[in-house]
Amino acid sequence: MKDTYFTLTENRKIAKGTYLSVLEGDTSDIKASGQFVNIKLDGLYLRRPISVCDVEGDKLTVIYKAVGVGTEKMASTPVGEKWLTLTGLGNGYDLTKSGDRPLLIGGGAGVPPMYYLAKLLVKEGKHPTVILGFGKADEVFFKEEFEALGVKVIVTTVDGSYGIRGFVTDAFDGLDYTYFYTCGPEPMLKAVYDKTVSSGQFSFEERMGCGFGACMGCTCKTKYGNKRICRDGPVLEKEEIIW
């Protein structure tokens, strides 16, 4: 965990309501995919927790949906501005359990962390398949970026305007996987939980106060006891989840 200033070097819309920001600064405390950063914005009291999409040297990429005052402010911030950012938060995904053919399932704002995860898995010589779920064709992003990593990509849209019609779980038929990793809205996570045949890891979202375990604002119950989503999560294992 480190509190440090990042300079915004790129900030652009990549799909409907979806923005990509590249931040330059000290990324050394980001140790795993699935971790998040907590960004202080002028005029807003609490920081905004945003998942890590990619890390490359001193460049940190985040992708977020502009859905409230914080993310809207982020989307309209000009390049060159500095954001005080608490980095290296959360446990992140555990790659050691992936097996050779892990399945990665991202839905909407849950897609970004799958990118860094896929990149790290490919680097380790694994062969991931990625399912990306969106609402409509104009919300689809990062398909080509995932393909450029050399992974198999399946896109689903709820209205069928792009890829397979339906939810991410509608793309499961015939897939052969050793393990899975997922991030997305809670109803999607529950559907993934019910339909997957292997063990896996889930990344959860919750309103946070601090983002580093001090305030107990984001605690959930698990089979292994109470866990703070920000500190003991956001990644939980399938076996411990209580819905």
């Binding site: 965990m1 509190d3 202080k40 807003l44 009291y45 609490l46 920081r47 608490l86 919750e206 309103r207 946070m208 106060g209 601090c210 580093f212 375990g213 001090a214 305030c215 107990m216 604002g217 984001c218 605690t219 959930c220 119950k221 109470n226 500190r231």
Partner: protein, 303 residues
């Protein structure tokens, strides 16, 4: 060279800064970031007799210049606090700590204090009779002078350590409650706990917090804290631990001028994990700016 030392109920502090209960866990998350021995003391996570999960989420809602929380006193219970949390705290913090205790009945307060009283590194008890986020206890002890005095008397029986009673601002007459605690044998008063508030989400058209209401903290509540500290200081002889929206060294001095002997830093820790340290490091500069040689000398200086 300015002097930041103050004495709280007979125990000397290097400086008056104490992270407030519920915003600092048991200290060790912050010890990863800086040496927390720079603090005057710290008030650890509110402890109850039994383990508590607290309220369902969402427990947090942002406000202009502040936040609402409805955590609901999540804690592992006094036995686990003694077995697990305090030994971990002890490894990173070598000064007397403030034990924050909550309860749902007089017996619970008494039993929790009795158990914690065995812990040598506890310097003070901070008895929370003001939590707005729990039902059937908590704040209800702090909204009537009679109940407040009863709690004070009951815990007084089981410890010789200083007892500081933490009061709620959600009352019509804070002075009468502070005086009742003083007559009950309290060694100090801490105030203010959070103000009860609510926020509604325009998209769902429902309260943001699962608990509907929560405690409002942050810079927005500082004027309420200053006013209540000022009023209570005039009415009692025991020291006041002031808190409410403190995020700068200037805020610390303002609360001390109102009458606080020590000052707790709460919500600011959640936004800036270095807040308490930054305030301590900035205190000498601000003291010099306002020609203050010794913090002890300015307590109640505005009266």
């Amino acid at each position: 060279m300015v002097n930041t030392k103050v004495t709280l109920c007979g125990i000397e502090l290097d400086n008056p800064i104490i992270p407030a209960s519920g915003t600092f866990g048991f200290g060790y998350e912050f010890a990863e970031l800086y040496d927390i021995n720079i603090l005057g003391s710290l008030s650890f996570k509110g402890t109850t007799l039994e383990p508590r999960f607290g309220n369902p989420t969402p427990r947090i809602a942002e406000c202009d210049s502040g936040m609402l929380n409805a955590v609901g006193l999540q804690n592992p219970g006094v036995d686990k606090v003694i077995e697990v949390e305090l030994p971990k705290l002890r490894q990173v913090f070598k000064k007397p700590t403030m034990a924050n205790v909550s309860g749902f009945s007089l017996d619970e307060y008494v039993e929790t204090v009795r158990k914690l009283d065995t812990q040598e590194d506890i310097g003070w008890f901070e008895i929370n009779i003001s939590c707005p986020n729990v039902h059937g206890g908590g704040m209800s002890f702090g909204t009537s002078p009679e109940m407040a005095e009863n709690v004070t008397r009951a815990v007084r029986e089981v410890t010789k350590k200083p007892i500081i009673i933490k009061l709620s601002p959600n009352v019509t007459d804070i002075v009468s409650i502070a005086k009742a605690c003083e007559s009950g044998g309290a060694d100090g008063i801490s105030l203010i706990n959070t103000l009860m508030g609510m926020r509604i989400d325009l998209k769902s058209k429902r309260p943001i917090l699962a608990n509907k209401t929560g405690g409002f903290s942050g810079p927005a509540i500082k004027p309420v804290a200053v006013r209540m500290i000022y009023q209570v200081y005039d009415a009692i002889k025991i020291p006041i631990v002031g808190m409410g929206g403190v995020s700068t060294a200037e805020d610390v001095i303002e609360l001390m001028l109102a009458g606080a002997t020590a000052v707790e830093v709460g919500a600011a820790n959640l936004v800036n994990p270095y807040a308490a340290r930054d305030i301590i490091l900035d205190l000498p500069r601000v003291m010099e700016k306002y020609r203050i040689n010794s913090l002890e000398e300015i307590i109640g200086g505005a009266h």
